[in-house]
């Protein structure tokens, strides 16, 4: 009940204080990074499979007016794999599957519109166009003596709308949280190559190729979709 009384007071305070800060012409860098590892141990056969992944997602932007931002975003990452030779399921290819399992990279152009509620926080939202490439390697057993290596390269182009909020930790550093997005248009082209090998001699038995074109028009709102990041003003 107490909250219900406080909320209108907070709103009134927010509405009455004027936005003083000057944003026009300021440049910022914003981003997030991720790193992860996992290891599976197979007790019965004393084998192990380890995987690691790193990734980053950063953007540079500029306030062109008090409320409008334009900028570029860049993302990338890769997955690594290491298998000890005794994992039965993959023993026939384990040495081949080690190393880089997959990687991705993307570039985007974005526009954001800000609503500065008061000097401490506000909301933002806007469209972006992004292109990306994703490469993935996969191995699986076929029958009892063969294995297949599938390499997929996918190019994607998408248009999306995102919304979020920011909170000023200091004049130079803002905490931002995105909470919703819409991906109304998405196009992708995928090329996959399958190579079938003999398990003991590693000779190529057969090759095949698969091309796939995907499209999607989906006016769906994804909410809540929380992503946290930091924004740092360089000048």
């Amino acid at each position: 009940m107490k909250n219900l009384i406080y909320i209108p007071i907070i709103i009134l305070l927010g509405m009455t204080s004027r936005v003083m800060a000057q944003y026009n012409g300021r440049h910022f860098v914003s981003g997030s990074g991720s790193i992860g590892f996992n290891t599976q141990n197979y007790k019965a056969i004393e084998g192990a499979k380890s995987r690691g992944a790193i990734g980053f997602d950063m953007s540079v932007g500029k306030f062109v007016t008090e409320q409008k931002v334009t900028g570029w975003s860049l993302r990338g990452g890769l997955t690594l794999q290491k298998t000890t030779k005794d994992v039965t399921d993959s023993s026939i290819w384990s040495d081949k599957a080690d190393g880089i399992e997959g990687y991705y990279a993307g570039i985007g152009k974005f526009w954001q519109y800000y609503k500065h509620v008061n000097e401490h926080w506000g909301f933002y939202g806007g469209p972006d166009i992004a292109a990306s490439v994703n490469v993935d390697n996969e191995y699986h057993i076929q029958g009892t003596t063969e294995y297949v290596h599938t390499r997929t390269t996918a190019f994607a182009l998408g248009f999306s709308l995102k919304a979020g909020a920011y909170y000023k930790l200091s004049e130079k550093c803002w905490l931002n949280a995105s909470f919703a997005f819409i991906n109304p248009v998405y196009l992708s082209f995928e090329r996959g190559s399958n190579t079938e090998y003999n398990g003991s001699t590693h000779n190529v038995l057969r090759k095949s190729k698969i091309d796939k074109f995907n499209y999607a028009l989906s006016p769906n709102l994804n909410l809540p979709a929380i992503g946290l990041g930091l924004t740092y003003f360089v000048r």
Partner: protein, 210 residues
């Protein structure tokens, strides 16, 4: 979770002025369209190419009329087409075609509760009737007929003077369906009730004309 709704609440509050009522006699028109699909080609040396393609196209329209302030009755029409084909490039090779078509009619009533100037909540009970037909390349068909009772709450957000973006979710539904194939038929009864919020909402564009 709570903080997100609080944030959304604050956001809505920033547009706060007086509550807007929707007047008697206002016409309502809503529409949403969705589409997706893929084309694939599998090629290997010494073999003819194998191809697969599928499309999904759906369109939903709603018409309504305000019988009194903040209360509307109306009808929704929906249709979707799902053509699928898989074939081989070889002359005289395999060719499989399938087409699913669905049509639906759903009369509804809707009560609005204006929250702020631009934001309204609504609840919409409806009774729906759906027909679906699947045709295979060998000219075999399968038909089904279903009726359902649904209660869906939603939100409506005004973007312009007449235009609004709306999202609703299905938290309660009761359905009865009848399936008829060339070889036999079957009946099914289903019920669904949920208190959890989904994370993906379908959006609809709507016009309020008076």
């Amino acid at each position: 979770m709570k903080s997100i709704y609080l944030c959304l609440f604050f956001w809505a509050c920033t547009f706060l002025t007086a509550e807007a009522q929707i007047e008697k006699g206002t016409h309502f028109l809503g529409a949403t369209v969705q589409g997706s699909g893929y084309f694939t080609k599998l090629s290997s040396p010494g073999h003819p190419n194998a191809r697969v393609q599928q499309q999904i196209l759906s369109l939903a329209l709603q018409w309504g009329m305000f019988a009194k302030e903040n209360f509307m009755f109306g009808v929704g029409l929906s249709g979707s087409l799902v053509p699928y084909r898989s074939w081989s490039d070889a002359s005289g090779g395999s060719d499989f075609k399938q087409r699913i078509s669905r049509y639906g009619v759903a009369p509804f009533v809707r009560w609005y509760k204006p929250v702020f100037n631009k934001l309204s909540l609504f609840v919409q009970p409806s009774i729906g009737v759906d027909w679906s037909k699947t045709t295979y390349s060998r000219s075999a068909t399968e038909k089904s007929f279903a009726t359902r009772l649904m209660v869906s709450p939603g939100i409506s957000y005004r973007v312009g003077k007449r235009f609004a973006v709306e999202a609703d979710l299905n938290i309660f539904s009761l359905g009865l369906s009848y399936n008829k194939t060339d070889t036999g038929s079957s009946f099914a009864f289903s019920s669904h009730m949920s208190s959890s919020l989904p994370s993906v909402f379908g959006l609809r564009g709507a016009f309020y004309l008076n």
